[in-house]
Amino acid sequence: MKNVVLFLFCLALLSCVRHEKPNLEDRYQVIQSKIDQKEYDQAESELVSILEKDPQNERARMILASVSVHRAGITLKDYFLLESLSHLEDDPSIEVLKLNELEKLKLPTDTGSQKALEFLKQISHVAGRAVEISNKFEQVTLVSEDGANQLYQALNEMEKIKTPQSGNALYRGVIKLFYFKYLWENGKFLKFGNRQFCLEKINSLSVRLEGFHRFTLGMVRDVSQGFPKSQSEFETQIQNLDRGFLDARKFLVQVKDATRNFQETLQDTLLKDQLDGWKCEF
């Protein structure tokens, strides 16, 4: 009987030995868990060491970017709003600039006046789209300034991948949406209300509009890659947005004195007597 017991004991020792070795995917899983546990520094140093050996490793770079996203407090529940964003459509009811009164005035038919009016319409259109996107994100927590800095870092990391897989382009687009919300709500693109838009200098407005144009189009393009079935819908949206931005920017390029503010430029372009009784309030 002792032999049986001894045999069982030897088997017991064997039974307790484990031989599994971690592969790269196992390492990622460890890192992913560390991110959830907010062990950010450890996760980052692991990822940096992977990227030092293989700078083209897209998965490692995306996870590295996601460390900053996690720091910004954006999690899975926020992503479930993606579905509503896949059905973006023009909503004419959103009118950022109240142009009714201006349109009622009998503006001269010269090209300068019409271009100025067209510019305002285009600004109203793209701002309306921005409001619509921002509204869709109403339930999402607006990130703080620190959070926005983290998102900026994440986006910088992701931009290092020249041609990301469609899913990762979507991820970049989604993070841009969160960053977009912050930028929009904090007037980093265009400032409206309290005559801020009216008093903005043309050269400053031009720079802001260019940034707004570039960022918004890049964001929508990235998001569109995640919805292959809605490609044509997105393409139409992208074209409309691009046209709106280009038309608006065309007007600003033609302004001779870019150091004057928008209100002054508008008064110069439109006949002053036609503007009697109308005040720039944007």
Binding site: L8, A12, P22, Q29, S33, H70, T75, Q165
Partner: protein, 356 residues
């Protein structure tokens, strides 16, 4: 002496545990074995080497023929369920509701793995044969790592099965048996990064079907040549499972033949019955840590206690019966490895059993 041996065994296992490397926290829902019985679930593969002490179908058909009391047959029904009952309760409205997106959102937003399991079984056990029908077994497991760039694992299954067993002594020392098992399952087994998968999620997220017929033999040899051996009742066993035909093979749940070899003893004790077993499992896809498993069971009057151990999982079970009705509870701790948000998962299962 016995205590000293057990002490060394557990010390050696604890040492090996400390030196363990990571393993993914994947579920074991697709593993072979009848998990509708508390005893089988606690013991795991060891149940194919210990003599069954309750009136129920056995894991190894060769171990039928144990008890003359069941010569007229025993009918029974089991309900076995458990794990994250609290998560189920929390989401009861969403489960009943139409908006499955909200349910997915709720389950995937959990910071810890979510799993639950439930099964029903109707069975008949006689001395040398047994039949069982499992109308429903459902399992669910999900785990999300990095909520900001989520790696998602979702395993879900619905299974029905029908099995028949025949077996018993073929000579003084040898036992042999055969089990025939029909299985029909629908499952989802997906592990993906949410964003990488989103563009093609419709195509990827498919419910798959699998049907199988298994012919599963088993043999056992009782060592009873000396008085000493007769006291300790050592038993060597060998059984095969998942041997048969599968209509479709899937890489994610490979159905490979399994061979279990085990040894068990029944140390003589003054009060009650005690059995201790060790099983070794050969198959293409079992992890190193799960190849060996210890199991023990103890019975005193109307109470039965079970324990099972391997480096990945240990479990305890308690069952008590009053007349035809018995109720049991099982506690299980599964190592999730370094890659999981926590080192282990604790789960509780319950069994309600009617036998007459």
């Amino acid at each position: 002496m016995r205590i000293l041996i057990l002490f060394f065994i557990f010390i050696s296992c604890a040492w090996a545990q400390a030196a363990s490397v990571l393993k993914s926290g994947a579920s074991h829902f697709f593993e072979n074995g009848d998990r509708s019985f508390l005893s089988h679930s606690v013991l795991g593969p060891v149940c194919s080497t210990v003599r069954t002490i309750r009136a129920e179908p056995t894991c190894n058909p060769a171990l039928l023929g144990e008890n003359q009391m069941w010569s007229h047959g025993v009918f029974g029904a089991n309900l076995f369920f458990g794990n994250d009952i609290d998560t189920l309760y929390k989401n009861r409205d969403l489960i009943a509701g139409e908006d499955k997106m909200k349910l997915a959102q709720s389950l995937l937003s959990e910071t810890e793995p979510v799993s639950f399991e439930a099964s029903t079984l109707i069975w008949w056990r006689a001395e040398k044969m047994a039949l069982s029908f499992q109308p429903q077994r459902m399992t669910y497991f999900s785990d999300v790592r990095n909520q900001s760039y989520p790696d998602v694992a979702i395993h879900g299954m619905q299974e029905q099965s029908l099995q028949g067993q025949i077996g018993g002594f073929v000579s003084e020392n040898w036992r042999a048996g055969l089990q025939l098992r029909f299985l029909d399952r629908r499952f989802v087994y997906e592990e993906f990064n949410l964003f990488e998968a989103l563009p093609t999620l419709d195509e990827q997220f498919q419910v798959k079907n699998q049907r199988a017929v298994f012919v599963e033999p088993g043999v056992a040899y009782e060592l009873n040549q000396t008085e000493d051996l007769q006291q300790w009742q050592p038993l060597l066993s060998l059984s095969a499972s998942q041997t048969g035909w599968v209509d479709r093979n899937y890489d994610e749940i490979p159905v490979e033949p399994i061979v279990d070899a085990g040894v068990s003893i029944s140390p003589p004790i003054a009060l009650g019955e005690w059995e201790l077993g060790l099983n070794y499992r050969w198959t293409a896809n079992v992890s190193e840590a799960r190849k060996f498993r210890w199991g023990t069971l103890y019975r005193l009057d109307f109470i039965e206690l079970y324990a099972g151990y391997d480096p990945d999982e240990w479990a305890l079970g308690l069952s008590a019966n009053v007349r035809a009705l018995s109720a049991g509870w099982m506690y299980k701790r599964t190592q999730l490895g370094d890659s999981a948000a926590k080192a282990f998962e604790d789960s509780h299962f319950f069994e309600l059993r009617l036998a007459f």
